[in-house]
């Protein structure tokens, strides 16, 4: 039974894992906005929900230009990014990204990606919270 389930699991993984988790991980670790932007479809949408952009009024980014600017801003900040808790399946991928500033304050972003047929990010939802600095 375990073997059969494992085969199904592997088959699912093959067909639903074109998403490049390695690039997501490396892009964050290297703070390489261009590498991260390469994961998005041209008409991608990113929705960010946090204490300054509550669920009723999320920050919504349309297209690669706006998303690229957002990613560049994040990558320009002096902090260490760690990607963890990745999961892929069902046309979706999820990951948590912890960003730690030099003073020790942290941001935790829970990211959910809806993928297109090419495994590129069509729509992303980010729910995040951060330490108040100082």
């Amino acid at each position: 039974v375990d073997t059969a389930v494992r085969l199904v699991s592997e088959e699912t993984a093959v067909t639903t894992m074109p998403f490049d988790l390695q690039a997501l991980r490396r892009g964050h670790e290297a703070r390489d906005a261009q590498m991260l932007l390469g994961l998005y479809a041209d008409d991608a949408e990113v929705r960010v929900v946090d204490q300054t952009h509550p669920p009723s009024h999320p920050l919504v980014l349309h297209g690669r230009d706006e998303i690229g600017t957002y990613l560049q801003d994040i990558c320009d900040r002096d902090m260490v990014h760690v990607v963890h808790d990745e999961l892929v399946g069902n046309g979706l991928a999820t990951a948590h990204v912890t960003c730690r500033y030099a003073d020790g304050t942290q941001v935790l972003a829970a990211e959910t990606f809806e993928l297109d047929d090419n495994g590129r990010i069509q729509r992303e939802t980010i729910v995040q919270a951060w330490d108040q600095s100082g």
């Binding site: 204490q51 669920p55 808790d85 829970a110 939802t125 919270a129």
Partner: protein, 119 residues
């Protein structure tokens, strides 16, 4: 290890706001970590054990809200999902959750990152 997590019960427990359905999904020694603007990453709310988690779930389910589970991703030993909360006045909350499962498919550790309209 394959997922034996009871996602249908999780969905029903939320839609019916039934804390007793939800608490059965947790291992005895489960831990829930909640991160939001009131409980930032360096100082999360940490609930240890079923009694503390049950109190948390009862408080959630006693609220006059509609809970919708979506964006479920089932892994071998983990599950990720969103829970959208809707209050009668239209205000919302959104939780992004990762559930780490034990070998019996029960929740051993849950990490919730959430944001809400209400301060």
């Amino acid at each position: 290890m394959a997922t034996t997590f009871d996602i249908a019960t999780l969905e029903r427990g939320h839609s019916e706001r039934d804390p007793d359905l939800l608490i059965d999904l947790y291992a005895d020694e489960a831990e829930v970590v909640v991160i939001d603007q009131n409980h930032p990453p360096s100082h999360p709310l940490v609930l240890e054990g079923r009694e503390a988690i049950s109190g948390f779930l009862h408080e959630l389910c006693d609220s006059d809200i509609t809970l919708d589970v979506g964006d479920v991703v089932l892994g071998d030993d983990r599950v990720a999902l969103h829970v959208a909360w809707w209050y009668p006045d239209g205000t919302q909350a959104l939780s992004s959750e990762v559930l780490e499962l034990d070998e019996r498919g029960r929740i051993l550790r849950e990490t919730i990152v959430q944001a809400f309209d209400r301060v």
